[in-house]
Symmetry: D2
Subunit: 406 residues, 4 copies
């Protein structure tokens, strides 16, 4: 018998870069009774979440909500816009960019994988100039799409999407711009329309604070036009029928009702706090985390301060230290989960998630757990990251998060 | 502002043939804290649900659990086993068989759609002899798969899957057998291995009593072998990586953790009650429902008593009665949702769901709501279906459902 | 190991006259995080529930909310207004009136117990003329209080409280009027101010749809004045400090925060539906129940139609039938709990609760369970109560409970 | 409209010394459906919690569970054992000892209040020698009971109960020993039988991790004997009927079913962790907190290290600092509630709760919030309490709290 409701005393600290902790408000909303997905109340729910999610993507175009996890939305972005054998330009920013490229291959596309050499590419975001140069070479416009990851969950590095759009435009190239912000949406500033993105892919289990299980494609008119001619087979992922049914707040097949309840609540929480306030909070927590890492004398995975992620911070271990052994010690001794290094970085770093339903004191608990754990694991530390983080947070003394009731 | 947690006094009766009402036990399990899907507890959860779901399918082969709704699992069954242009033999049993066929076309397959004429095909299950005859004609073995629906949610008609297997074998044909039991699993007897099914497709929101959002492919060794050569593009739905990761209880991409908690609880409930007891309960409730329909003097949609569905009952309206108007009256006056007629039957019947977390008294409430609603709608009734149903249930007087604690 | 979360398939029908089923909305509200009962948010909660509960009692005077069950509020009503040895006039309407009288004795008061002979008193409400006659005799005004039960939970008989007030006034007697409406509040019309009640006692687990655990004293200026001189020892129950602290929404000792969350939600539900609509719904369900009992050929415990309870109906068994054996059969076979007969009626009747979060179809399930159970138990029935109840409910065809969303 | 489900981003830290945060497991258990309190399942629940609670009190004697908050259990202890005008010896250890003494007066007892002068008594526990001396003077045995508080919630000082028992015995005095451990039970070691306590009073909302609403009297044979002759009026609080009904797991009046579900879960959690492990965890967290206070250069309210509370720590402010202003700043800026100073200490200290469902990282968050808040409030700190607490917790490196699943 597996004991699922397993809680040692006190709360587990789930500080991985997603799935992020689901707030009680959302768990409660998810327990509303399942209703008839063809009945009248459902339409009202559908219309609400379809309108609200546009605000999060900062778009006026349709946003598709899939009853599937984020990996599926990657596939949807590709199959709706491309045809077998199409060339796509992708950029290696980390593990997830690599997986998306593998998916493109599996689907019969021909991805070209740009990137910096070695692990350097995993420490810096997309290099827009490399994309521009490559597109200028492609005078025949064989490349049909540029695919980049906005927030690399495997590294804690973001990419400048507006710069990618400028690069494509500067090259006078008609390629579509497809962007994955699965772990960025709702945590890092993102502007689908303003940045000229054609398809944005995202998921529920990060900044939206939901369990995994729903995912998104935000579209552009050019993307919709492209879908008319795209010949990769698709049915479940097909945009057309969904856009049509969504007009009244319904779906062509059974939607994920209880997760949509959760999405509705998440939208109330995020838009109630204010999207810009949410971003500022993530920046405050991320900055405090980085100060802690520096105070410990450890290296931040992201090597370019211009693209530090507000969602997570990758912490590199000194040579000879097994990051997974440190994580295991922290897990067993302090009941906290940190993110494992993936792919090329396996064993060499760990990831601290500070996204979603996170606040100053939860972050302090997290950093204290890291500091105590690193010491217990014998990692020599230059100083107290916890002290540095407290100093950083104290600089925001003018920002009350709560107002005493009148 | 949409008020989602909308409850007039008393409980809403959700008597559609799925999504079925989610029991409190499952809602509570779904609110367990989300955990690290790469951490040690997750593996234990994964192994448990992967083992348990095999018992429900009555198989020893792998069962794939997708973080996607049932329509996706249809697509998965096709894309993992077939190649572009492949011929598949499908059988028109109702709206969902029709949708599956449309999906096959959209994916670039060439389905052939057998069936009885007019609405007759929507009132009887699969005709195995027609399948056998067609396969015998196909001496070149061009047909790669036979696709049938086990329990047609749109009609309340089941199909004899063992007979289809016998038909294929009698024809000496190598086609794979793909079966949709999205609305049958956990409610109607189903035997993946014994019946020689190659891929069984199912979902969470019916007999498993979960919200929509996870779906299944149960496999056979032949299906796995076919997937090695199948050339329809696939990534998200690909079996290989999932089977590999599942060996330790994990998934290659983010699984639907909170719904897996729910699945774990559902397995405890169903296997705790006993699968055969669950089937017997569904048969008891379905029989009482049919007696009610007959007592009202109305026609049961399913015209062949051998294949009455234990999951739902389609009730045909007399000529001139708009079934949707009756449903609307019952919804507004008695706070009960009944299933709408779909496709060819639109407006001509309604569907009573009696599946999942349903018991004798909930059924009586349902039938009383139907009877009162039908009368208020001016539908002439021959007699009291409620009385007939009570008489039917009383025949099971020897079956206590609860034992007083010692 | 006791398995508390024990659910056979489908929902248990808890049709006792309280505790009544707690709606999901209230259970969810009760799971809000416990807050500092001296902090600013708490005051807002306190002020809301203290204002809202007055609307339910129809009073402008203070209502005390105790973190204790209803029996405690009985004690509070007595100890705050009376002194050792005081004479009080009580009226035997059933088991709970009898228990209140025993409590008065235990506390050192001298109750005088009026009533009709035999079980006749348990089938009719308070006889106001008997009270008037007795008070007229008490020319020395030795009697300090008249104590009556508004809705006798043990019998399904209500009492005319306005008539009791008129009786006291007609006698020109200064006795306080203390009324127990523990099971009536929020289900049966009740008017604390208009009826001139001095202390009304109530609880949470009936019409308010909460779990047991909070209870009430609604006060009058005369009751407050009496409390200044009352000499029964009291501390926990003392009104003074509570009234003082309540002015700002707080309590002098730790309040029952999570149940107050539930109370807040219950107030939203009841006042949102409308108090008069709630009463009308209870009357509709009670009338349908009585028609069922009559159709069965059984006797309703309440012998005076003027005082039928809208909360519960007592059903008398024919001679020789053990009501508890019938209840046990229904419990085990149909997973429904009915109320046991208490005190003088033990074994001779059972009680059907139709209060709180109950609606037409839940009532039909309940009556179907009774009818099937009575038959299985061998009780001869004259006809179908279920049919009679459906006919009764159908008379309210013009009362939609739900409106389809626009 | 009051918005109760009010959550700014991230979790509120409720670090008052009770009500303590209610774990999700307990909230979920409290949402099990309310059942018939006279039905068979209820008896099983009742027997389980009645047996389990004895283990927590370390007693083989009856423990009464009241559906009322802790203040009521104080009253119960007095009214069941004493008679009007009885003399009781009480000891001033803080605000709650003072309130209990006021209650004794209100109930018509004649308490004598021993204590140290000024606030000195609020910084040290009970002085057993003073009790012994006073009892020796009472050669006529007029004093009927000695009442002491085991863990003073207002100060963070415990008292040596075994020493009080020895003092009574040394004086050869027959007085009963009544002990309040409302905030100690389940957090601080407590031994009802071994320490010879006659009535122990406790509540649910502290170490038991439940919401307020149930409370306890643990009895001794002498206490039960005393109750036969005690003449304070009582009914709701009377032990006799409850003990009788409890034999089968029932109560004489409606129990607090949903809180009993919570109690059952709390017992599973505490006894599952192990009572001694729970105590050790509290000691570890308390020691880390005290090291933090000392590192800040602030004074711990408890002046006697032998009686430091494992439940909470009182932190005294330097002269001129308004402790409530500090608390308000921390509440608004860091979303954390700390305990207000009460009575004589108003405004001079604040209380940090580290009880119940608390662990190392939650404590670190708490101390970080205090440290940042104190600095922002301008309180000069000698050094980093956070650093000191981390050093203290690191000394327990050998105590994993979680084991990775095999």
């Amino acid at each position: 018998m597996v004991h699922l409701d397993f809680h040692p005393s006190g709360r587990h600290f789930l500080q991985i870069p997603g799935p992020s902790p689901v707030p009680d408000r959302i768990l409660r909303a998810m327990s509303y009774p399942t209703i008839d997905h063809r009945g009248p109340e459902f339409g009202a729910l559908g219309r609400k979440v379809l309108a609200g999610i546009k605000e999060i993507f900062k778009t006026r175009q349709p946003v598709i909500i899939y009853p599937a996890s984020g990996t599926g939305a990657w596939e949807a972005a590709l199959t709706n816009t491309l045809s077998p054998g199409d060339r796509v330009l992708m950029f290696e920013t980390g593990h997830f960019a690599t997986l998306w490229k593998k998916m493109a291959e599996a689907l019969g596309l021909r991805p070209e994988f740009l990137g910096l050499p070695g692990i350097e590419g995993w420490r810096r975001g997309v290099q827009a100039d490399m994309i521009e140069a490559r597109l200028r070479e492609d005078s025949g416009h064989v490349i049909r799409a540029v695919c980049v990851v906005h927030n690399e969950t495997s590294t804690g590095v973001t990419s400048d999407i507006a710069a990618v759009r400028r690069a494509i435009d500067a090259a006078g190239h008609p390629a579509l711009l497809l962007v994955d912000t699965i772990s960025g949406l709702g945590s890092a500033d993102y502007r689908h329309d303003e940045w000229g993105v054609d398809v944005t892919v995202s998921g529920s289990q990060k900044g939206l604070m939901l369990p995994p299980g729903i995912s998104f494609n935000a579209l552009s008119p050019r993307a919709i036009a492209a879908s008319q001619n795209a010949r990769l087979p698709r049915a479940f992922w097909g945009w057309d029928e969904i856009i049509e049914a969504n007009k009244n707040g319904y779906w062509p097949y059974t939607p994920n009702t209880n997760l949509l309840y959760g999405l509705s609540e998440a939208l109330d929480m995020i838009l109630g706090e204010g999207l810009e306030q949410v971003f500022a909070r993530h920046q405050r927590l991320a900055e405090a985390t980085r100060r802690a890492v520096r105070a410990w004398g450890l290296e931040i995975q992201c090597a370019d301060p211009a693209v530090y992620s507000p969602v997570l911070t990758g912490v590199m271990m000194p040579d000879g230290v097994d990051a997974d052994a440190v994580r295991k010690l922290i897990y067993e001794r302090f009941d906290m989960s940190l993110g494992q290094a993936l792919g090329k970085m396996r064993g060499r770093m760990f990831r601290i998630g500070h996204l979603g339903d996170c606040n100053d004191l939860t972050l302090m608990a997290t950093l204290a757990g890291c500091e105590m754990g690193l010491k217990l694991a014998g990692v020599p530390l230059a100083g107290s990251g916890v002290a540095a983080a407290m100093a950083s947070l104290a600089e925001h003394a003018d920002k009350p998060v709560l107002k005493a009731a009148a």
